[in-house]
Structure formats: C-alpha cells, structure tokens
C-alpha cells in the first residue's frame, strides 16, 4: 500500500483551480452577505414593527435550517420562479449570500448594540443629526467591535463552501474528490484537502487573534 503523492503534483493545476473557486465563492459570499446582513440588521433595529418583524422572521428561519436544505430549496425554487434553469454555480452563490446574511445580520446587530448608550447620547447632545451620529460615532466603534467576529464567521464560511460538493460545483474538495476517484488515491487527496484547509483556517484565525489584540480598546 504505497502512498503516491506525485498524484498531487500531476493534478496541481486542477486542484489549484478548485481552491481558487473556493476562495472566489467565499469572497463573493462574504461581500454579499455583509451588505445584505447590514441591511437586515438595520431593519431589525428599526422602530417600524413590520420591518423588524420581517427581518427577524427571515433571520430566525434561515438560522434554523441546514445549509444543504437551503441549497436544495434554491436549486429547485429559483428556476421555477425565474422561468429558466440556473447553473449550479450561480445558484449556490446566491444561496450562500442569502444564508450567510442571516448570520452576519446578528453579528452586526450585536456590534451596533455594543456601542454604549452614553456615546449615542453624547453625540446627540453635541447636536449631531441621527444620521451623522451613526456615521461618525456609532458605526466606526461598532465596526471595530464586530470585526473579529465577522472575520471568524468568514473563516467558517470558507469551510462551508465545501458543501457545494453536493451540487457538483468544482471547488477544492469536489475537485479533490474527482481526482481521488479517477486516480484511486483517496488517502493522498483527502489528506491534502484536510491539511490545506487546516493551514489556511488556522493561519487566518491567528491573524484575527492578532488583530483583536492590536486594537483592544
């Protein structure tokens, strides 16, 4: 039972491409998720009961479901609504954005709430308008508070992208799986995948830790 790690070298382009797809999915999902998440957070914190209830429903609903199920839902639902089939990649991407937005919303909401009321009062007392106060006093502080958690959630997101295996999108894990099956070398491939994710995520979380320490208020 010899191990043949040459396989990795042979298929390195394919594997790297798969890794790039993983990164791409992650980055787009993070960006979209944060934008939508901020929107949802503001809705949840708005004084209009209807808005806050709707956003609350959305967030709580999505957070109670497995990601796979949401992916299937969208895969099945979207083409029927739009009228024509949607490719797996786009479908998964949109699903990720919608799904992660629910988690980012809660993080952002917690971040904004964590800014002490005294700050808000001081800002208003100075004569700042609500909008300016949010912009110059609350949001900068909120962002600093929530950045580590946002980043941690993003690392989790990166791991979650491996789920696209289910719909056949060729990300890192799926590509490795394909190669493993065609070369009959599952051990080498899966181990490489695991180690790669381990190194990337570990390094990333260390960086986040350092970031957190460097500007601990």
């Amino acid at each position: 039972m010899g191990f043949d790690f040459n396989v990795l070298w042979q298929y390195k382009e394919l594997l790297l491409h798969g890794l790039m797809v993983s990164f791409q999915l992650t980055l787009v999902a993070i960006a979209g998720g944060i934008v939508l998440g901020t929107f949802l957070a503001l809705m949840r914190m708005s004084r209009l009961r209807v808005l806050s209830a709707l956003a609350g429903l959305y967030v709580n609903f999505l957070r109670s479901l497995p990601l796979i199920l949401v992916i299937f839902w969208f895969y099945v639902l979207a083409p029927k609504i739009v009228g024509h089939p949607i490719d797996a990649y786009s479908s998964v991407l949109i699903t990720f954005i919608l799904f992660e937005a629910a988690y980012y919303c809660e993080i952002i909401r917690a971040g904004i709430s964590s800014v002490k009321r005294g700050q808000v009062q001081a800002g208003l007392a100075m004569g700042l308008t609500h909008l300016n106060m949010m912009r110059y006093v609350v949001l900068p502080q909120a962002f600093r508070n929530m950045l580590p958690v946002l980043l941690t959630q993003s690392i989790i997101m990166f791991q979650d992208t491996s789920i696209v295996y289910i719909v056949g999108v060729r990300d890192f894990l799926t590509t490795a799986d394909v190669v493993a099956n065609s070369t009959n070398r599952p051990i080498e491939l899966y181990t490489t995948v695991a180690v790669t994710y381990l190194v990337i995520c570990f390094a990333a979380s260390r960086l986040v830790g350092r970031l957190q320490r460097s500007y601990a208020l």
């Binding site: 199920l69 099945v76 029927k80 791991q159 894990l173 051990i187 695991a194 994710y197 381990l198």
Partner: protein, 240 residues
Amino acid sequence: MNYSWDWGLLFREPYVGWIASGFATTCILATYAWLIAFSVGSVIGVFRTLDNKILSTIGTVYVEIFRNIPLLAQMFIWYFVIPELLPHDAQIYVKRGMPNPQFWTAVVALGLYTASRVAEQVRSGIQSIPSGQRAAALAMGFTSTQVYRYVLLPIGFRTVIPSLTNDFLGVFKNSSLALTLGVMELTATARQIEEYSFQSFEPYAAATVLYSCVTLLAITLMRYLERRTRITGTASAGGQ
C-alpha cells in the same frame, strides 16, 4: 409558474414512511453525535484550562485540528482514509463486519467535530469565572479535581447553556451532511421523494418544517434549563 401542488403526497405511503424514517435517522444520528461531542468536548475544554502543559497542549491541538477542517472533509477522511490506516483486523471489521458503516462514520465525524466547538464553550465558561473563586477553593484545601467538580464546572456549565444549545442545534443541522456518505437522513429523504414523485416543493417543505420544529423545541428546552439552573440572586446573563 406551472406547478401542480400535491400536499397529500406527504401523507401517503410510501412517502410518509420515508419522511418518518428520515427524520428518525436524523434524530438518532444527532443524538449519538451530541453524546460524543458533549463528553469529549467537556474533557478537552477542561484540558485547555489546566496548568498541566501536556494536557493543555493536547486540548489546543485537538481544537485547532477539528475546527479548522470543514466537516465534509472530515467525514471523507473518516470514511475513506482512516480505515486504510487501521491495523488489519480493525480494517476488516470496519469495512465488512460493522453494520451501517456510513451511519457510524457520520456519527463519529460529526461528534468529534462538534466536540471542538463544545470544548471552546466549556473553556470560555470556566475562564469567565473570576480567578478568586479558584483561589478560594484551593485555599480551603480542595484538590484540583475537587475545585473543578464543585466550583468551576457547575458555574461554568450554567454560564454556557445558551452557547451549548447553539452547538446542539448545529449538530442537528450538520447531520444533513451525512447524506454525502449515503445516509438516508431527513434532507436525503426529501431529495429522494422529489426524485420519485417529481414534486419539488412538498418534500423540502416537510423537511423544513421538521427542522424548524426541532429548533423551536431546543430553544424552549434551553430557556427551561436556564431558568432551572439559574444561580439565585444573580441577574441572568443569558438570552440571545
């Protein structure tokens, strides 16, 4: 949108039987995995708070390995890689003798993965206890084990009930990944019904409802637990 609804299909055989069985599989899988996660996770979490360098390093290494690799990749490793590395007899058992290898592989993978999350919660729960408590317990003459048993763990666990509930729900949701190994849990069942009946929405809706119910149940249970174990006289720090 051209779609003929057929909600009745959910209540007809064989579909209703499949749903029940799929849901049962999910629940059983999740329960076994949670048992592993909670027991292993608590131990690892405690390790991380000890002064003993060896034990605390074991704890750290465990957590970093199991939480930085995606669960799906971990499942593949347990299913495809680990059996190849076992001694001969164990290998034969795992590949041929053991019943339901996919199910048990999923249980082990999910359990050990979640254990890393539980470990972090337990660690933070213990570390959030003011250091004076440990000092006072030691000063009385309690051994280290007794300090954990009578002071640090009772208080620490109470603090992290909300986060542990999150991890418990995570186990339920992540059990869906077992479908990649071929386990017929709830989501897999929904997909199978879709393939057989050509109805797309109804099966997934059923799965959705069931997952939501579990979540609601778990949150209710958590609130109850929190109230029952609240330390009298202190303001509850729980909530979302």
